[in-house]
Amino acid sequence: MSNLDKDFVKLTSENLILQDIVNLVKDDGAGAISTFNGTTRNIFKGKTVIQLEYESYTPMAEKVLFNLIYEARTKWKLTKVAIYHRTGIVPVGETSVIIAVSSVHRQESLHAVEWLIDQLKEKAPIWKKEVYNDGSVWKENAESRRKV
């Protein structure tokens, strides 16, 4: 399913740097690069979050993300696509996810970025735990696929 030199997916415990991900999707034929940069928040319903921990079913998450890129390519004409997601402990204020898409014209990549982050939040087997002063909670995305 993966498009070797055009699709980039990675779950990593390393810091995500926007410029590095943008560089992956740069292409002389692409007039647009659209990005989404997700950042961890410090407050949830008045509680102070001191730390976040991401856990993933990494091989399946990478497979799901490659499949989403494949599906996105059936909807829009995209040049290159990169999806990087942090795992492990992510301090408040740091980037947890970056999506970067290049395309010849801007509409395609703008639409694809929004669709990809929505789909990631629904389908990628990745979980976030918020740690407070007085405990911790596994979060659930409103978009998450679940039993009906």
Partner: protein
């Protein structure tokens, strides 16, 4: 070394907190080479009391493919399969 035919179960997030293990091997019933997902669910609920309410709210994947809930009675888990409990996700 056991000759029992086994499947691997993976637990994540709330499911792992409930079982206290990230994964375990489950032996298929004697003389069988598969079991339905419904039977597996009942077996896991008996094995881990705290997992029961989480299973009711989680999805399954088999070999990294989501299983539709409507298929639970018909889909068979076979020897060597990797089954994951997928609680509601929170990536992003």
């Amino acid at each position: 070394m056991s000759n029992a035919k086994e499947i691997t179960i993976l637990y994540f997030a709330t499911a792992r907190d409930a079982t206290k293990v990230p994964s375990e091997k489950i032996s298929l019933p004697p003389q069988s080479t598969s079991m339905s997902l419904e039977d597996l669910t009942n077996l896991l609920k008996k094995r881990h009391e705290k997992l029961a309410p989480i299973l009711d709210n989680s999805l399954y994947s088999i070999n990294m493919e989501y299983v539709e809930e409507s298929d639970y009675q018909t889909i068979l888990v076979k020897e060597g399969d990797e089954v994951a409990i997928i609680p509601p996700v929170s990536g992003g």
